[in-house]
Subunit: 153 residues, 3 copies
């Protein structure tokens, strides 16, 4: 199935790709790579998941936050590539989790993004990942994801 068919099957309507919250651009292409800026769990203009994992938010909420930020990342990739079928492969997910001292369930939180990428892009959705517990975040966002993908013309 195509990525668009998988999105439809999952009941996901891609939003407009979120704008930058500073003097930068949401994605850039260099050679065959697209890189996104840090993606946050925006739902439209609302920061849906703000707060620290391990204190303000449960791991389940963190999973939902990572999934939502990943939906925004897919919207950026579509804007960059024009068509999600031109995404040859996801490459890299830098996963940053806003957390309280002692939290260590970053992998479970970030699986919210990784699971979605594989559901949508299937084999092309496989990616490398980093997972860090971050002290402070812009806008108190629960997660910040940065995505690299390979594009084919």
């Amino acid at each position: 199935m195509t990525a668009e068919e998988n999105l439809k099957r999952l009941g996901i309507v891609l939003p407009s790709p979120p704008q930058a919250v500073g003097k930068y651009v949401p994605w850039i292409r260099t050679g065959s790579l697209v890189m996104t800026s840090g993606q946050l769990p925006w739902e439209g203009s609302v920061m849906k998941y703000a707060g620290r994992l391990g204190r303000d938010l449960s791991t389940e909420q963190g999973y939902a936050a990572a999934r939502l930020a990943a939906i925004n990342a897919i919207a950026q990739l579509k804007d960059a590539a024009g068509d999600l079928e031109k995404i040859a492969n996801l490459v890299r997910l830098e996963g940053n989790v806003f957390c309280d001292e002692g939290f260590s369930e970053h992998p479970q939180v970030l699986n919210g993004a990784s699971d979605l990428f594989v559901e949508v892009f299937e084999e092309r959705g496989k990616h490398t990942r980093t997972a860090l517990g971050i002290r402070d975040m812009p806008l108190n966002a629960a997660v910040q994801l940065s995505v690299f993908a390979e594009v084919r013309d």
Copy 2:
């Protein structure tokens, strides 16, 4: 205007590119990409901005720290490309801000780098960005920036 003309207009004299503070190199080229190591707010051999945002330093000082680290990054790019006109495009700014618990003005701090990149490289200065609040930093540096740029021969 060229990047050198913009630097002159801004009154910026590029320093010698700072040396690494460990067993690594300050920049590397792979294909058409140059990547820098983490750039700190050195002024010559002095760490001009040390300390935590939200405790030791104001957001305005953080902006100045990011601008200074960005000047050092531009010096690295010039060393890598030989000529700043060979920088086809900035690609990515990984912005790490040393901060106290609860600080969330990372975007305003990192605009010190992003604004400068656009002032110097104009359209070519557009870049993606990540913004994280970091618990601890080498040398207590207020910011650490890592830059990717595309080079043309």
Copy 3:
């Protein structure tokens, strides 16, 4: 000397490349770049260095942790390239150190990885580096390293 000869000289037997701790893959190739996922100080199935630098672990233990995670990264690069002689150059080491408030010896810790890369790959082992002090880590790992390398066919 080849990388394999240097490993033998150092008495290092590469382990099986560690599996991912989530829904991702341990490495990926895009163009001529290989990128690894975050590498942790696993010794087989044991997390050998867990805990915070500056509280639970000494800087010397941190150096050993970075060296061990770097051995795992080399195992990933071999799995990706098939033969370590196909690694044209290391490119980038993202060095993340799990630490207590106030720790700033990240460069000394990460030299455990950087020194090994140069011992094994010699001139080809030179790399750029970022060094951050991280608040919380998956599995309480003392370090998490992410490596980019350029491959030749």
